[in-house]
Subunit: 144 residues, 2 copies
DNA sequence: CCATATAATTAGCCGGGCTAACCATTAGCC
DNA sequence: GGCTAATGGTTAGCCCGGCTAATTATATGG
């Protein structure tokens, strides 16, 4: 094994830190979905998907995604629909309520992050943005 | 509310993505602790703490931390000890097994991240590192 | 037309989050 | 000294989110 890059070590250190802080903020607000639900709504807001695709993209097993979707359906945030071209598949769609919830939570989280980032200079913000772009591209390529 | 910075939007988008990918990798390996346990071990590896401090730093409630520590104790990774100066407090210490586990997991996760980052150029790695430094400093200051 | 593969659900388990209620200890104050 | 907080932890009871194994429904292919 090659020596780990400083960047990798930093990813391991910083990402969980940020994640916990955001998770804490979400838990503090009532009626906020869990981070997992948030991620599902966010994915579905761009395009509807069937369960399997959703599970794969979200890096969880199919039963787990089925359960999460059931919870979301109970809360009225998404809806199940049989696919016409293949009646085995279930397509998940975000409801209006789900879209509203997503916007609320997105605003809340972004506002919180903005609050945390408020102490940074414009130069630091640029650095942050560039760094995250790199990280995103790395984890979006196959294998990430 | 001011317009959200692009940096904040990117944080919201990228951090959960990376977190899920790392979580998936951890779940795939047997005998790997959950991300939460990993975080606890990591914190304790530098300094022993009592339960309350641990809960606060980890952004969870005291009962939650007590439960997590119980699980870790059952697995032999940490040990509880009454503080001599204040017998109400419980100090948590990492066992040798815990330290070994932490090293194993750290190596595993860092290796995985390195693998994902392998496609990046040195310049991109530098950008990533700088960006994460900024992010870390923002979330480590009070309020983060 | 039957066998197999694929999509999804259900059941059963565990970890991790919470609040409320409780016990043990310390600190403060008359 | 001896009450009365205040502080630190644990326990109980709840829910969500992970997993695997087993089941059902639909497609597909020989």
């Amino acid at each position: 094994m090659n020596a780990p890059t400083p960047a990798a070590q930093q990813v391991v250190q910083v990402i969980p830190l940020v994640m916990r802080a955001i998770g804490k903020r979400l838990r503090q607000k009532n009626d906020m979905p869990s981070p997992a639900h948030f991620g599902i709504l966010f994915m579905l807001s761009n395009e509807t998907m069937n369960l399997s695709d959703l599970a794969r993209q979200h890096s969880v097993s199919l039963p787990t995604m089925s359960n999460s979707v059931s919870t979301l359906v109970q809360h009225g945030l998404v809806a199940r629909r049989r696919a016409a071209h293949d009646r085995r598949q279930v397509v998940i769609e975000v409801t209006d309520a789900g879209r509203a919830m997503l916007k609320t939570v997105l605003d809340e989280v972004v506002a919180y992050v903005d609050e945390v980032l408020a102490s940074l200079s414009q130069g630091e913000l640029d650095q942050l943005q560039k760094g995250l772009s790199v990280l995103k591209s790395a984890f979006l390529t196959p294998g990430g």
